[in-house]
Symmetry: C2
Subunit: 446 residues, 2 copies
């Protein structure tokens, strides 16, 4: 019998802010910045409004803020609504170790509980990193079979990550975290079959909700199995044939999974990020103009054919999953970081369609996060660049600058420039916040 | 592609009280009577108190009653707390088609939502039967592989049953019920690994909570897959290799699954019910006294060896899973319907231990709900009886009398005789209730 449940619980209950490397803490702040951006940008989304209406119907004690609306409710409701909203645009960060979206699954629960109990920035950052690392270890344990057989890691494993994070925030001891994992493990759910519907972002909200409740129940003495990740009929083995203990114990690059967190800078499918980056690099390097482009070739893994290869997209949603169109937009100077760029109008804009017709997709043997783009000019010149979206940023200054730009683009229209800048400033000194309420109460639309 | 999701949704959205046979309606009333009994009897259980404390912490709008305590909260909270409490004693009814506990998984959600919206008895009964039938059809579809691979049907399929029932109560059309099944299917969870901990009854509460929310979300327009039971990566196929469409469409005995509902009359493992019934039959028929018994043989399936064959139990919990001791109690005239009989004191009572020492268990080839008991007397006489706990009562008058006795034993100490009798009377005319509030507001401990 392995003892992964016990070890994860032990690590989570013991970790202190000082144990976490400065780089890992900085990336954790980036996760907070990015999560608030994508959540605030979506707060008027129809899905977010459905959940907000439900929360309003319950009229629970107002201790945690629903981002954007500013409506205050119970921590469990805020975790559910904010968690769902954070994934509504599918513009939130990702982890290859989890094979899903750790911040969306964990952070809203931590922030909601922190606001309810008046926790400090230090406590939140520590709890979030504890949950993030746990989720990535469990993801590594169960990848790829869990996902392959139909489960959505963000939803299922995300609930366990949220349970660990909220347990750390509440100061639970190792035995209590084990039980929280037991409760979250037996309540965790979410199927990939729901992709393409509102139920996919709902998964993230439900993971936050389930994890937060599991942490609370365990604190109150509710019993569950304490070997949920190890037992023959526990969560890990019932829902996955994979059980890679060595991977769950392996030391990630830099010592922290969170250092390998991947942010989205284009408001479309993650598999289109590398082609866009390669295309933009050529444009920036060569200084050519769109009109001079004769022919474009995108070389990527054939895996992408079923993911994001809509050949002749007709809508804003479809161009989010069209290699040809998204790259055409990048070549024509359209801002692919702006969610408004992925509009029905841009799907039909004549110059973009004309450019798209010059783009061909070619399958090569490669990881599905790799792309090579080749541009042939009117004058016969051949320009080429590659990109790999599986590689986290090595330059955290650059990452912060890009995320700050993304934040401004998404949040300035919601909060106004002044308060948006205030949020950025608050997050930059997150560990020194005495009470995170100051941050969350500021995340309310005009 | 099958269309079971669509057919279940269609049937549920169309069924009216008049479509349901009088016998099926009567059994549905029995389910309500029995559910209230086992829920009220457990309301001071530590698990129930944990969930009550959480509900109190949320201070939600008081529209639905937590049984026993009388605390009023949101429908989703009441469904969660009452659903969990109803399964806390493991004394609630069961269905072999679902392979689980349909009333505990479905009825608390229906009652909580009904109280919140002021629904009639007719609406509640119709909704409950719609959900019950749906859950049994889905159980038939996925049995036995779903359970065998580690999932707890009460929890997983129960959530879909609750979603269907609440959808019917809210008057959802077929398309909306399909989406409610899609949402519940992707949020449904629960592992058998949790058996023996408080997380097992929590499963029932979570199923009610999830199903109720799925029905509400679907009403508000939240989208999900509409082929959750049919698609290759939907709920049914991801979580079970079995996919017995013929069974899901088969007409159950009497036309309604609910007619085959099985009630517990002994406060112990269901697999001990048949041995107790057989032993009691011999005692009643022959009129012998315990002292005259020389030797007892219980013949049952060897499957029970790992379920309820504690040889020398030392505690109240252990005698709930001891064939020898429970039958010894029945032979000595102890009331096995009384939850107080399964006490630590009775585990050690000398006359019971002495009788237990005269009882032997013998394995025979049989269904695990069948038992033969053979008693040899001091005078050499040999008495024998058989019982099968898989057979629902053919005599509904007798069933009602037994359930009324059980109700009185469990509920009189909680509500007092006067109000307990009032609840029984109210349920006997359930279909004519204009508003179920009158029933639920009366289920409050002195």
């Amino acid at each position: 019998m392995s003892r992964l449940t016990a070890d994860i619980a032990h690590d989570a209950s013991k970790v202190m802010l000082d144990d976490i490397s400065p780089e890992a803490r900085r990336v954790a702040r980036h996760c907070i910045l990015d999560l608030l951006a994508v959540t605030l940008a979506a707060w008027k989304d129809p899905l977010a409004q459905i959940l907000l209406d439900e929360a309003k119907d319950e009229q629970s004690r107002p201790v945690s803020t629903i981002l954007g609306s500013g409506y205050r409710t119970s921590a469990s409701q805020a975790a559910l609504v904010n968690g769902t909203t954070s994934h509504a645009l599918d513009y939130d960060d990702a982890s290859l170790a989890l094979n899903g979206h750790p911040s969306a699954a964990i952070l809203p629960a931590v922030l909601a509980e922190a606001e309810a109990i008046g926790a400090s920035g230090e406590a939140v950052l520590t709890a979030f990193v504890a949950g993030y690392e746990a989720a990535c270890r469990i993801g590594s344990l169960m990848h790829p079979d869990h996902y392959r057989r139909g489960f959505h890691n963000t939803a299922t494993i995300g609930a366990l990550g949220a349970a660990v994070a909220c347990s750390r925030l509440l100061g639970s001891d190792a035995a209590t975290v084990r039980r929280a994992l037991g409760i979250a493990g037996t309540l965790a759910a979410g199927l990939k079959h729901s992709f393409g519907t509102m139920s996919k972002p709902l998964h993230a909200g439900w993971a936050n909700h389930t994890g937060l409740m599991a942490a609370r129940y365990a604190r109150r003495g509710l019993t569950s199995r304490e070997d949920m990740l190890d037992a023959e009929y526990g969560f890990a083995r019932t829902m996955s044939r994979d059980h890679h203990l060595n991977r769950a114990y392996a030391r990630p690059n830099g010592g922290w999974h969170i250092l390998n967190n991947l942010f989205k800078y284009h408001a479309c499918c993650y598999n289109i990020h590398a082609p866009i980056d390669a295309a933009r690099e050529i444009m920036a390097r060569s200084g050519i103009v769109a009109d001079a482009i004769k022919q474009v070739t995108i070389q990527v893994s054939p895996v992408l054919d079923t993911v994001c290869n809509v050949q002749d997209p007709q809508s804003g949603l479809e161009i989010k999953f069209s290699l040809r169109h998204a790259v055409a937009m990048a070549l024509c100077g359209v801002d692919t970081a702006d969610i408004a760029s992925f509009s029905d109008a841009n799907a039909l804009r004549p110059d973009l369609v004309a450019m798209r017709d010059r783009v061909a997709v070619e399958w090569i043997e490669a990881e599905d996060t790799f792309a090579r783009v080749i541009i042939e000019n009117d004058d016969g010149a051949r320009l080429e660049a590659t990109a790999d979206s599986s590689i986290p940023s090595a330059n955290l200054d650059q990452q912060e600058a890009k995320l700050t730009t993304k934040f401004a683009a998404l949040v300035n229209p919601i909060l106004g420039v002044g308060r948006a800048n205030q949020v950025i400033a608050t997050i930059s000194e997150f560990e020194s916040l005495e009470d995170v309420n100051v941050l969350l109460l500021g995340c309310v639309s005009d």
